[in-house]
């Protein structure tokens, strides 16, 4: 895995916010701006969706992204593709090295399937996405919540077609940075999952920063 660092100075960011464990976040990143997510304490999964800010039906498509780049893992150079075949974001720096986009987000209902019927009460990413949509983006709803990116998450696929969840390749302070290729709405659920190692069984905050185009 190739790592690549950024030269951008956090002191010069035009936007800087911490998203607490289990919380949501949405914001429009303007074309040309640079968007960074920092895994502050390590081993955290940041479930993230992207939409063309002016046409939300032209949204991030995991399967188009992996097919067009011919690889299932996201890292520096990856173009995050939309349903219409447009590039929403380009990953320009990555000190983690590998991010997942096949594992999707947790939901109360899928937690029941995966862990136990009694797990329904537990906080889950899909609930965070729905609340963000309801409160901040009335033009988005359940049908717009599709397969997301899991930044900092490690979900290896084997040549035999098996899928596994493994300990993160991330660590404290690792980050991923991307350039908006159009005006893009970013929607994040900072994953509250406590049933598997995707957050090291201890969900922690992430930090989001935005820099203007140079």
């Amino acid at each position: 895995m190739a790592l690549s660092e950024s030269k951008l100075d956090p002191a010069k960011a035009v936007f800087d916010q911490v998203v607490l464990a289990g919380d949501g976040f949405t914001h429009v990143v303007e074309r040309g701006q640079i968007f960074r997510i920092v895994d502050l304490e390590g081993n955290q999964a940041a479930d993230t969706l992207f939409y063309d800010a002016h046409d939300p039906s032209n949204r991030y498509s995991a399967v188009d992204t992996v097919r067009e780049q011919g690889n299932i893992y996201l890292s520096t150079g990856t173009k995050l593709m939309s349903l219409d075949g447009d590039v929403l974001m380009t990953i320009v720096a990555d000190t983690c090295g590998r991010h997942d986009t096949l594992g999707g987000a947790c939901a109360a209902e899928s937690n029941q399937v995966r862990y136990a019927i009694e797990k329904k009460y537990m906080h889950a990413c899909r609930d965070t996405f729905l609340l963000q949509c309801a409160c901040h983006t009335p033009n988005l709803s359940k049908r717009d919540i599709t397969a997301n990116v899991n930044f900092f998450m490690n979900v290896p696929v084997t040549p035999e077609g098996k899928l596994t969840f493994e300990d993160g390749v991330s660590g404290p302070g690792r980050y991923v940075e991307m350039r908006a290729e159009r005006d893009v709405r970013v929607l994040i659920s900072n994953c509250p999952q406590l049933n598997n190692p995707c957050n090291g069984y201890n969900p922690t905050p992430v930090r989001v920063l935005i820099w203007d185009a140079e």
């Binding site: 039906s57 498509s61 995991a62 399967v63 188009d64 992996v66 097919r67 011919g70 690889n71 299932i72 893992y73 349903l83 075949g85 590998r98 096949l102 594992g103 999707g104 987000a105 939901a107 109360a108 209902e109 899928s110 937690n111 029941q112 399937v113 995966r114 136990a116 019927i117 899909r126 359940k142 049908r143 717009d144 919540i145 599709t146 397969a147 979900v155 696929v157 084997t158 040549p159 077609g161 098996k162 899928l163 596994t164 969840f165």
Partner: protein
């Protein structure tokens, strides 16, 4: 009704789209008559299409990155839309999506209706939009689909490669609806198939009557996650006639 009574046989031409609501327990068999077909598929709860096939939930519940007999198709609501009850092919893709008009033009050149009439080069995206439109669904309802008869493997580094010649003549896969399920199909080339000729492959569809998964069903027992998935599906229909 006899458990496996024949309800419908239908031939799908190459390029053709199709849809139907399968009632719980009905089976749909897709047969790749000549080999080398690719059928893209989407699945919805017919009573509430906001509930639909969910690729990530299907993969992570079963720890798989492919589909075959014994696995099930999960909705985003933790329920089983369809089970895969038979499969002679061994691998069906669900991680590489489908092609658009732009993919088709780049690979096959122009294949317009004006020039070719009903042999024109239809593409999966447009077929999905048309067929979904018949149920007042649209682009926002297009999610990661299943690609029957298609095999794409990832190596250790995650690099994808399409496996040519994967589906042999007569290869089949059979689904059993565990919910009242709207099935939308498009018999159109997969965008990773390296062939630059727009091949129109016939696919045969057979629908039979039957019952949903029983207590000793192989898909239910294949792993504890699926047992819970069936429990949640049955509780959704609890207290209703069907």
């Amino acid at each position: 009704m006899n458990e496996s009574q024949l309800i419908l046989e239908e031939a799908l031409r190459g390029g053709q789209m199709w849809s139907r609501i399968l009632r719980r327990g009905q089976t749909l068999r897709l047969t790749d008559v000549e080999g080398g077909a690719a059928v893209a598929a989407l699945f919805y709860n017919a009573e509430d299409p906001s509930e639909r096939y969910n690729m990530p939930d299907t993969l992570k519940a079963q720890h798989i990155a492919r589909l075959t007999k014994g696995f099930v198709l999960y909705s985003d609501m933790g329920r089983v839309l369809c089970s895969i009850t038979e499969d002679s092919v061994g691998w069906h893709d669900t991680i590489t999506g489908h092609g658009t008009a732009a993919h088709g033009r780049a690979k096959f050149g122009e294949g317009t209706y004006q020039k070719l009439r009903n042999d024109w080069y239809r593409n999966t995206r447009d077929n999905f939009l048309v067929e979904l439109g018949k149920y007042d669904l649209g682009k926002r309802d297009i999610v990661a689909n299943v690609n029957f008869f298609v095999k794409v493997v990832a190596n250790e580094q995650g690099a994808l490669s399409f496996v040519p010649g994967h589906s042999r003549p007569g290869g089949f896969v059979e689904l059993r609806a565990e919910m009242h399920t709207l099935v939308v199909l498009s018999n159109t080339p997969h965008p990773l198939d390296p062939s630059t000729v727009y091949e129109q492959k016939p696919v045969a569809l057979t629908i039979r009557g039957g019952a949903p998964a029983g207590a000793n069903d192989a898909c239910r027992l294949s792993r504890p996650e699926n047992a819970r998935g069936f429990t949640l599906t049955e509780s959704y229909y609890a207290g209703r006639a069907s």
